[in-house]
């Protein structure tokens, strides 16, 4: 017959029995192919004290008289699950929400999870996520409800089970994803301005009816203190108090106008405001450069052609 699995708790004393053989049988044990120290034998049984993970392995027992393999046991040392940590969140309000869970302590053996969601007495189905095994998706059964949701996750393995329950109302779990495609551009001739733009997170289903407001924060790379501005009804903003010539780090967060909490910050982007082109130093003893067409000195600093040739040193680098 095949290998049978035996689960045992870390730190416990374990008795390995060789199939159904009687106590008078003469047995030889091997673990992972190697002979076992005979001091741990008690008749045909193998006694393992205060086991640890290192005791994991394939245990085989043979009858001495025939040399026949009598039993094979895969010993798995682990722990029963402790209370799972459950979080529910809606980043697709009002379409639905998802719940995720994890075990704060490893069990070293396979675990199964079961989630039940209730709104008042009505059970709501949770669709398992196709990719993440500790995640499932639920629809808001009702909107604008004062009845709370109750989500219970039960973790189970061969050594025991444990569960955790959270209760929340529809509004408190609303947390959008961060804004997307954040860009920041210098504005020619404006050494203290940066034009920042972003897009509503694509996961947010109805921005017209469920508008988001935004929180922009920016600071020179060399400083720690952020400057903040909260914005509604817009997906762009012009920073007008930037320090000339300093590289800036910029992030944006989003929140439903009326409920829930702020998203995480967007991926930071960097940009430096526009800077005047530095004119090359002119020495007395060096004759001015005479070009065949027009001499640069005859072009007034502020004429557009001169401006055009002044390359903007700074270009916004966008980290998608």
């Amino acid at each position: 017959s095949g290998v049978r699995i035996q689960y045992e708790r870390i730190g416990s004393d374990v008795t390995m029995q060789c199939g159904t053989l009687g106590s008078d049988a003469s047995i030889t044990w091997k673990v992972n192919g190697s002979d076992v120290d005979t001091s741990v034998l008690e008749g045909p049984n193998l006694i393992l004290r205060n086991v640890t993970l290192s005791y994991n392995g394939l245990y085989s027992c043979f009858e001495d008289s025939s040399g026949d393999l009598q039993d094979q046991i895969s010993l798995r040392i682990g722990s029963p699950p402790r209370e799972p940590v459950v979080t529910c969140r809606s980043n697709t309000y009002p379409k639905g929400f998802y719940c995720t869970w994890y075990l704060p302590f490893p069990t070293y053996i396979p675990n199964d999870f079961e989630l039940t969601a209730l709104q008042n007495t009505k059970e709501i189905e949770c669709q398992r996520d196709a990719v993440h095994k500790n995640k499932c998706h639920l629809k808001f059964y009702q909107m604008f409800s004062s009845l709370k949701y109750k989500v219970t996750v039960t973790a189970k393995n061969a050594l025991g089970k444990s569960s955790a329950t959270i209760t929340f109302d529809e509004f408190s779990i609303v947390k959008p994803d961060p804004p997307e495609k954040v860009t920041a551009k210098p504005i020619p001739d404006n050494p203290r301005r940066l034009e920042v733009a972003w897009q509503t997170p694509s996961s947010w289903p109805e921005p017209d009816t469920f508008p988001l407001k935004f929180f922009l924060r920016y600071r020179p790379l060399i400083l720690d203190k952020w400057q903040h501005v909260e914005l509604s009804d817009t997906n762009s903003h012009t920073i007008t108090d930037a320090c000339t010539g300093k590289e800036y780090i910029i992030q944006v967060a989003a929140k439903d106008n009326d409920i829930g909490t702020w998203s995480d910050w967007s991926v930071p982007i960097h940009a430096t405001p526009w800077m005047e082109e530095l004119k090359p130093p002119t020495n007395e003893n060096q004759p001015p450069l005479i070009t065949t067409t027009t001499s640069s000195s005859s072009v007034p600093p502020q004429s557009p052609s001169y401006q055009v040739s002044a390359t903007t040193r700074n270009s916004a680098t966008t980290i998608p």
């Binding site: 009702q142 409800s145 009845l147 709370k148 209760t167």
Partner: protein, 179 residues
């Protein structure tokens, strides 16, 4: 068939009207939420209170919000806020005469919310006019015979549902404003 109970209302531009309505509903949501928290404290009720009782209070919960027509949105809102107006007047009366007789500031806060409810009723009626929808007549609520504790509970439930209704109205008006 509902007869038109309001005529002669000036119809302002639709965009302007719904933008104003959104702001009013948003403020009502915020103030009703604050009043709800204050009510819990002043009445010594538990923060996790979730009274599964109705007392004839309009519940904002709906499972088919997206499919509602414009008329259904406005009509259900109007009916709800008219009911809230009379419920809040009863709540204010109970606070003044029984549950919290000395707390004038709290009474004022309830009165302020009543005024805001009336303003939302006004703007809904204007919206219905602007959409050529008949404005149904209002019939007064039947007073219920409740114990003191039931009245205390009901007051909380009124404010809980009112804040949810106000939020629903923000979404309704935003939805109507898109058209």
């Amino acid at each position: 068939m509902a007869t038109n109970c309001r005529d002669g209302l000036s119809v302002t531009s639709r965009q302007e009207l719904f933008s104003k309505a959104i702001q009013q509903a948003r403020k009502l949501h915020k103030d009703a939420k604050q009043l709800q928290q204050a009510y819990l404290e002043k009445q010594g009720l538990s923060m996790n209170l979730n009274p599964d009782v109705t007392y004839g209070i309009p519940t904002a919960a709906t499972s088919h919000w997206s499919e509602l027509t414009d008329a259904e949105r406005l009509n259900s809102g109007l009916t709800a806020y008219r009911t809230f107006r009379s419920l809040l007047e009863e709540v204010l009366d109970e606070q003044r005469n029984n549950l919290n007789t000395e707390d004038l500031e709290f009474h004022q806060a309830i009165s302020s919310v009543i005024t805001q409810v009336e303003a939302v009723i006004e703007v809904i009626e204007q919206a219905m006019l602007s959409l050529d929808l008949p404005i149904p007549c209002h019939s007064d609520r039947k007073l219920e015979n409740l114990s003191l504790f039931e009245r205390k509970l009901r007051g909380y439930k009124v404010l809980l549902e009112l804040s949810n209704w106000a939020l629903r109205s923000v979404r309704d008006f935003s939805h109507l404003n898109k058209k």
